[in-house]
């Protein structure tokens, strides 16, 4: 297994292991997609006036 890295957003990279470049590219794509999908969204809180 070799170590690879992928930039998932500016200033943030993820490092992971894969057996070859082909597997690394596939995994890097999954990691980037998951990173963007799992990014927490701020919960909307609405101020009410009484």
């Amino acid at each position: 297994m070799k170590r690879y890295k992928v930039e998932v957003e500016p200033q943030i990279t993820l490092e992971f292991e894969a057996k070859d470049l082909r597997e690394a590219k596939k995994k890097a794509k999954e990691l980037k997609e998951n990173w963007l999908k799992n990014k927490p969204q701020a919960e909307e809180v609405i101020t009410v006036e009484i």
Binding site: K5, Q11, I12, T13, L14, L31, K39, P40
Partner: protein
Amino acid sequence: MSFAWTFPAGRRITKTISATAGNVVTNLSPGTGKRWLILRGRFYLTTDATTADRRIRLVITDGTNITERLGASHVISASSSGYLSFGETNVVDGGIYGDDGYIGTNPILLEGNDQLRITIDSGQAGDQYSGYVVLLEVDV
């Protein structure tokens, strides 16, 4: 005649670590022309059923070499969860209630290729960690 402003200007930024598998390492790095003063952060790990003693570990590198080990959480075992925080608080016993570790530190200066590295000891593909890092970014 010219003047130089010497106060710590810059932008306050919160970096979000998305849910990431435990066997993947996350590196935060200011990059060329930027300098960071890392102020505080908090990380959350949930583990799968695989038997192993995990720890959330924080390391500083120069991009290649480890230049400092900040510290790590207590052990977080299988099928459980835990937090690790770091920041400027001087923690006393009991002061980390709700977390599995606290690293008291002064603001950490990173520049260029320097990295704040978040890694999970014995991290598994089925584990997940996430978190936040608060920093001040300055152009250099």
